[in-house]
Symmetry: C2
């Protein structure tokens, strides 16, 4: 069994899909959570000056989606053929796309006051409009894909596990109701949370805001 050492900040963030997948696979891993001070020292040792970095048998790997797909292959969560793998990759890329759009909006709203523009109300309105339109657009699509309770191919894949912390993020950070409003996404969440090794990880992990 390989040894795994994960380095990231003390948040769920981009590392949580990796933690969930390792837990699903029953793999022990060292869950290193660094603070800002350690990060200054570590940064230049990281392949692209970024985390998460997962060391597998001492070899550094980075880019959280690539790592997640690699782990999913080890744990047979990538579908049974190339076509099924494509469906899974497509869902993950769409989840990532929505998260990026949200990050862009959040950053934009946050940056705006620093620019001291004349009409922050316009920016705020754009942001609220996106919360009303862009996010529901994606969530409705994801909900429609997940009639079976799984996001791709009617069975469990790493897309469902990848989706779990994103659903948590939307609910707890963005305060957007997901599982109450989109019954199939509730099924996805419940199916993933119903896996004993996943549930055990969620129950024992450090409690953090993000």
């Amino acid at each position: 069994m390989p040894t795994y050492k994960l380095t990231y900040f003390n948040i769920r963030g981009l590392a949580e899909p990796i933690r969930l997948l390792l837990s699903y696979g029953g793999q022990d891993f060292e869950d290193v959570r660094i603070d800002e001070e350690s990060w200054k020292k570590l940064k230049s040792n990281m392949p692209m000056s970024q985390v998460p970095v997962l060391e597998i048998d001492g070899k550094q790997t980075h880019q959280h989606i690539a790592i997640s797909r690699y782990l999913a292959k080890q744990f047979k969560l990538v579908g049974d053929n190339d076509w099924e793998a494509l469906q899974i990759d497509t869902v993950v890329d769409s989840l990532v796309e929505l998260r990026r759009r949200i990050a862009f909006l959040a950053l934009f709203v946050e940056l705006y006051p620093a620019l001291r523009g004349p009409d922050p109300e316009v920016v705020k309105k754009n942001y609220e409009e996106a919360v009303k339109t862009t996010i529901p657009f994606y969530l409705e699509k994801f909900n429609a894909m997940a009639a079976s309770g799984y996001l791709a191919n009617g069975k469990l894949s790493w897309a469902d596990i990848y989706a779990l912390p994103f659903i948590e993020f939307l609910e707890s950070v963005m305060k957007i109701p997901v599982v109450d409003k989109y019954p199939n996404l509730k099924k996805v969440r419940d199916n993933v949370m119903g896996i004993p090794k996943i549930k055990a990880w969620v129950n024992k992990r450090p409690v953090t805001e993000y």
Copy 2:
């Protein structure tokens, strides 16, 4: 042999890796290039109201990276094992990350005047600083990875083919010298362009600005 129908705008953009991969695989494909008027009509028929969409035997697929990886599997460009596939995925995700950062900067600079902020010079300076720091940071990393003339595993993969239009974009749109400054990236470009089926596509494709 499956039938392929690609729908996108009349630009290289996100569809070009797909066109290059289909060409590499010796696959005929219908290269549908729509204008703004047709897009208005087509948009709601697309899975996420986005293009590129590739129909494979009449079935719609979307998300250009997922599609590229699927095609790469058909044409044996994904490495010889999961570890090699991880290296390739990591390079592609890093290329995508850099493109996204550039797009963010470009959008931000473009949006800024509309916000009528007091100091467009500050924004312009940030942008120029990024062109001086962020982009070279990535290009140096990519250059270091590509000592063999290939971006991953010392042999041709879809990461090299994916990189080709991105290098073109940086050079022709951003006016950033890549191949003159980063000799290994020149090797990557030359190796990909040296593949007769790739070269044939590049020579026959419609000439567009982006």
